[in-house]
């Protein structure tokens, strides 16, 4: 960057003072803020500090985390040792070469993690779903939505609805409603005809969607306020919605199952210790159980489900009966196709 050159003069002054004294034994971790940060600091960080004798600095980095990492990498000053990598950021991180490969011999010498938890550049930290949620007090007497086809059925289930204001997973839901089998979703979506078919299906529901949500919080608030009766949303806050007296129910059938990761940015100052953190974060069922009690976003810590009561387990997206009826969101597909499809989607919304 040219700007870099401009800044260089100023930088000389700083470099004269010598490199900043490397703070010893501090692991810097970037992740989501808010509730996630609170629980992480309460559960995982004390365990890590006790295990390793290191201290940690947890940084709430939000939507621009990949841009931050790329900038740090370019400037040769990587501040993070480990980071949360969301489902949609993972393929970007891989494409752009922002992540360091995980050393599984170092992380998991006894091979305890199941294969589905292990990716080349990240370990599954949380699984969550984008699911259909309905307000049972607004559905017609004695009827309940069972599928995305029901979501599209405005005769049987009248009332305002909401979907995510982005094509990811929304297109999949449309195809499911149109009768595509979940195994064939991405084959169909990958063709021009398939894409046309998904948009044609979305055309049908368009007039019944007064609002397209842009954040998980918004979708839950819309359901809570009764602005919409049915909406896609993340599974995480539905329990809280129920506890606050809203008879909301998840339709697991046709949900999109995602996994987010914990990874290590390239040139992280403490590559080895980052693995210790990942081990604490992903392989400790005793800690993970405390996390999922607050947020139903489980990972694949060995033996996690043994720690749960049946009642708690049934709310988990990875509970076998729930996982079975969902499709696995294929984020590599979206990383490769999002620009094209998103432009068309945006145009379609403006029509």
């Amino acid at each position: 960057m040219n700007y870099t050159r401009f800044v260089l003069h100023a930088a000389i002054a700083a470099s004269l003072a010598g490199p900043a004294a490397a703070e010893d034994k501090v692991l810097t971790i970037a992740g989501s803020g808010g509730v996630v940060k609170e629980i992480t600091e309460k559960v995982f960080i004390p365990a890590f500090e006790e295990d390793t004798g290191w201290t940690t600095k947890f940084i709430a980095a939000e939507s621009n985390i990949m841009l931050e990492v790329r900038t740090m990498l370019a400037s040769g000053n990587m501040l993070y040792d480990a980071m949360e990598v969301s489902a949609s950021n993972y393929p970007i991180g891989v494409q752009e070469g922002l992540l360091a490969p995980i050393d599984y011999a170092l992380l998991d010498p006894d091979n305890q993690l199941p294969d589905k938890a292990k990716k080349e550049f990240g370990v599954v930290a949380a699984a969550y779903s984008t699911v259909l949620v309905q307000r049972l007090d607004k559905t017609p007497e004695g009827k309940k939505m069972q599928s995305w086809a029901d979501f599209w059925d405005v005769e049987t289930f009248p009332g305002p609805r909401s979907l995510n204001r982005q094509p990811q997973y929304t297109m999949e839901f449309a195809l499911l409603a149109d009768g595509v089998a979940k195994e064939d979703l991405y084959d169909v979506l990958g063709t021009d005809e398939g894409l046309d078919r998904a948009f044609a299906k979305l055309d049908e529901i368009k007039p019944y969607i007064p609002v397209w949500w842009t954040s998980g919080a918004q979708s839950v608030q819309l359901l809570s306020d009764g602005e919409v009766f049915y909406s896609s949303t993340y599974n995480g806050r539905v329990t809280k919605l129920q506890e606050s007296g809203i008879p909301a129910e998840i339709v697991w059938n046709g949900g999109a199952l995602h996994t987010s990761y914990v990874g290590i940015p390239k040139n992280a100052p403490n590559y080895k210790e980052a693995h210790d953190w990942i081990r604490v974060r992903t392989m400790r069922p005793d800690l993970e159980i405390q996390y999922v009690r607050q947020l139903p976003y489980p990972n694949f810590a060995p033996g996690l489900f043994d720690e749960m009561s049946e009642e708690v387990a049934r709310n988990m997206p990875t509970y076998p009966a729930n996982a079975e009826v969902q499709f696995v969101a294929y984020d590599e597909f979206w990383a490769a196709n999002i620009d094209r499809i998103r432009e068309r989607f945006d145009e379609w919304l403006l029509e």
Partner: protein, 277 residues
């Protein structure tokens, strides 16, 4: 004033702008044209795919409407405050500034409470028997305008007020003495004198509106997309060069709009001075 002291006065501002604004902006221009070699592909894409210019045009239109509404609504408010004894002026300004302490998120939520399906307005309509079904007011362009004007109005009032306090009211009294009716005195003397500050407020509100996206996203329908939404998405995708191209076009269009607005303002001022309102 001689030139040298002027340059000295400009120095702190120039340093601040050069370091924090100019440098990143130059980088923005560079990134939009070099990726890594010189290319027009990003501007090409922007023009080829209609959606970007379409959204840009919508953003300008909304911002313009908000700016004009804020000016029309805010001007009499600032004028009223100026008529008060000075101690009460402070108090009234404070009243106007209260909403600024609330997070935008909360101010936006308040509109959901008012305009929603079970909102206050719909409840009132139902109670009066004026509506059978809840009227859809939320998720419309009207809701976006109502909220954006509400959020930006304090800024316009403040700017107008600051400009009006400088006006020498003896001029109006003189006009009255010379036989002008009150309305005439205000239109011929006061309005032209306060026009510069009012125009400044209008431009500020316009520019701030161009960057809005939270309120339109929460209160608007599917067509109320702002250009900031699209830029944000491209940034998250790390399509930095394309995001930069969008930023550059936004910049150019906004500057063009400001030149137009100021020109129109001057023209209006001349008309007012010549013939009254």
């Amino acid at each position: 004033m001689k030139l040298r002291p002027i340059l000295w006065l400009l120095l702190p501002a120039a340093v601040l702008l050069a370091g924090f604004i100019l440098a990143p902006s130059l980088d923005l221009f560079r990134a939009s044209l070099f990726d890594p070699d010189f290319t027009m592909q990003h501007f090409q894409r922007l023009v080829d795919r209609g959606v970007y210019l379409d959204v840009m045009w919508r953003t300008i239109r909304v911002s313009l409407i908000v700016a004009v509404l804020c000016t029309v609504i805010g001007y009499p408010v600032a004028f009223f405050i100026n008529l008060q004894p000075s101690r009460r002026q402070t108090l009234l300004l404070f009243l106007i500034l209260i909403p600024m302490w609330m997070s935008i998120l909360i101010r936006t939520y308040a509109w959901i409470v008012v305009l929603g399906r079970d909102g206050l307005v719909n409840q009132a309509l139902a109670a009066l028997g004026l509506a059978q079904e809840p009227v859809q007011m939320l998720f419309t362009s009207g809701a976006v305008l109502a909220a954006m004007v509400q959020i930006l109005l304090p800024i316009q009032i403040l700017t107008c007020y600051a400009a009006m306090t400088e006006i020498d009211f003896d001029l109006i009294r003189a006009a009255r003495v010379l036989g002008a009716r009150p309305r005439q005195a205000i239109a011929r003397v006061f309005v032209p004198l306060s026009l510069d500050g009012t125009l400044t407020g209008l431009v500020i509100v316009f520019m701030l509106s161009m960057g809005f996206f939270i309120t339109p996203a929460l209160l608007g329908g599917r067509q109320d997309t702002m250009i900031a939404n699209l830029i944000e998405f491209q940034v998250q995708r790390l399509n930095w060069s394309f995001a930069a191209a969008l930023g550059v076009v936004l910049l150019v269009l906004t500057v063009a709009m400001i030149v137009l607005l100021r020109g129109a303002g001057r023209l209006l001022a001349r008309r007012v001075l010549k013939g009254g309102l």
